[in-house]
Symmetry: C2
Subunit: 355 residues, 2 copies
């Protein structure tokens, strides 16, 4: 019977719709298990720029620091995507949050619910049993290095940077996780070309000595992009840098049937942040068709990782499983076998999970 | 009836085996169409380091400059991959060749031979008809920027850089190609985070004005990694930076059934270089099982692009098609339907193509 403060940060686009459902699920869990969850809300992204001019107002950051966990939606808006010269952008809020809260480890579990075997573009016999846990480094790399223009704006540059310390702390988290799983770790880099990757590989090799029970392999990012589709079951824990992790986990969403199913946890020095890996999806915003299951599964990760509530977390996952077993789907995970009357909108599938 | 000098640069690992087959196919074409092709060989990569200490000896570079086209194998060796601190590396030879010959445009056509629909891990109904032409920028980005260490070696950095000029010249090549195809161009970047991508997007938007008949879309690299697998048919021409192109084209090899099927052309200011997109594959080197079809198809690209020999190029492609139609396969593209006696080694399938 715990008291916890949860901050809801919906952000932009479908972030609003899906976190609303995630929150309802947290509420239900509190009632069922006798916890008291109190909630607050904060702004980030485009909605924060519109309201305050700042993609991450100080007030939002303060609220995050004071919370026990953050349930996050998404940020982004097409307006900025079409205007590469915009100085203030929604994504700056997200990146600043990650940096300020010290969220250096982004966990992205890729696991297919058996019921969704048919929803993926990959063959079921290739997918069945695939279960990958990505550790994406989240506060370094080309995301946070110096960037700018020179030669009167005619040349642009971005600096990628990693220190041993930064690589080592994420490596240890990944090795620890591998120990609790199938004891296999794949470190992904581009050490045949870039220096940050060579440092990355050196550190992984060094840390590996402390985990002799974990089998380590090193793969280049290009080969990994291929292997993930060719043979996803060969992977257990994957650890990689910020940019490679961004690309590979979006790709790997196809292993789970749809991006709309994938949750992530960002943890490190302070408050943990839990969010779907999908974006703000302005093309379907407000239509009530967004898949809220990733936000619900983010709530499950929140309960498990930030609150240590294993039973509560499993109750959420098994509710999602039951809804899928009953044949309910959102549009993105429906397939030819789905009955038309079982294709539900955001709130309706949320209600099914609550039941 | 042309006289042409072709340089064979096998490089490392299976590069030796597959270029030998590619050369035989070129020979056969010369005989059949009455051309005179004269050949020379040059060293690059690990074999060049072993022989001369230099991954791209001046003599090799001179020979490349003097040739009408280069048929290339692969470079790389596990020895260096396991030693991130090696100062001299095979890949330096490849990168220097690209830079010195001004090979700024790397064309990677991804097209599935109908007979291989079953060989991919992706569902046939998703793949059927997919036909993508990648333009990967090849002489800029994080590959060629300043890189090194600071803080007593504890911090590594790599600088990514692009100038307007570099983006514009590859963009124009991609737009021109789109005009001869389905008139769709997708430019891939990460403009929501990095500055080189913002410059990239600005330049694409500007160049697009000169091609009003081509429909342009901008996608983020993470979304593209997902969409390539979810719905490969939505793409026609894709243009992107060096690093993103490296990752996305390896991934896209799964659309073509196997990496062993994919050829590429690197062109720009001087001699064109034609090579499989697969690597040196030391795990299967010397076993005679490598798929030579990518090298054969590279020879087809060479005939078409560097020599303007359309009929000759098509003769090669249709020979490959016939061999596949007859049911012959190398191990990597065999599937459950392949008869055991039709699984051939490198030379044997090469002989079938020659017939
Ligand atoms: C919105 C964007 C800046 C972000 C990233 O690249 O990290 C997103 O793609 C993600 O993966 O969380
Ligand atoms: C070997 C390596 C340096 C090279 C690259 O990254 O460009 C390879 O992966 C390729 O795609 O040609």
């Amino acid at each position: 019977m715990a008291n916890k403060r949860i901050l809801i940060v919906p952000g932009d686009g479908i972030g609003q719709e899906v976190t609303a459902v995630g929150k309802k699920v947290l509420d239900k869990i509190a009632a069922k298990f006798g916890h008291t969850f109190t909630y607050d809300e904060a702004l980030i992204g485009h909605v924060a720029i519109e309201a305050t001019g700042n993609p991450l107002p100080d007030e939002s950051l303060e609220k995050m620091r004071k919370s026990d966990a953050v349930l996050f939606g998404a940020v982004g808006h097409p307006k900025y995507d079409n205007d590469p010269s915009a100085k203030v952008r929604p994504e700056q809020g997200l990146l600043k949050m990650r940096k300020e809260l010290g969220l250096y480890a982004n966990l992205r579990p890729i696991k297919l619910f058996d019921e969704l075997l048919g929803a993926s573009s990959i063959k079921p016999e290739i997918l069945k049993g695939a279960d990958i846990l990505f550790f994406r480094e989240l506060t370094g790399d080309i995301y946070f290095g110096e960037k700018g223009r020179k030669n009167n704006g005619d040349t642009a540059y971005d600096v990628a940077e990693y220190s041993r310390y930064e690589v080592e702390r994420i490596a240890r988290k990944a090795f620890e996780a591998a120990r609790t799983r199938r004891k296999k770790l794949c470190s992904v880099d581009k050490a045949n070309v870039i220096e940050t990757s060579r440092l990355w590989r050196e550190v992984i090799q060094k840390v590996a000595k402390d985990y002799p029970d974990v089998e380590v392999e090193h793969q280049f990012v290009d080969a990994t992009a291929m292997l993930l589709i060719k043979d996803p079951r060969r992977f257990d824990v994957v650890v990689t840098a910020n940019l490679f992790g961004d690309i590979l986990t979006d790709e790997a969403s196809q292993i789970a049937g749809s991006m709309g199913m994938l949750a992530s946890a960002s943890v490190g020095d302070g408050t943990g942040v839990y969010e779907p890996i999908h974006g703000s999806a302005h093309d379907i915003t407000g239509k009530g068709v967004a898949n809220p299951l990733a936000s619900i599964l983010s709530a499950a990760l929140l309960l498990d990782i930030s609150f240590g509530m294993k039973a509560e977390s499993e109750a959420v996952i098994s509710a999602v499983d039951k809804v899928l077993k009953a044949g309910f789907r959102t549009r993105d995970i429906a397939d030819a076998q789905t009955l038309a009357n079982k294709i539900l909108g955001t709130d309706a599938i949320g209600e099914e999970v609550l039941k």
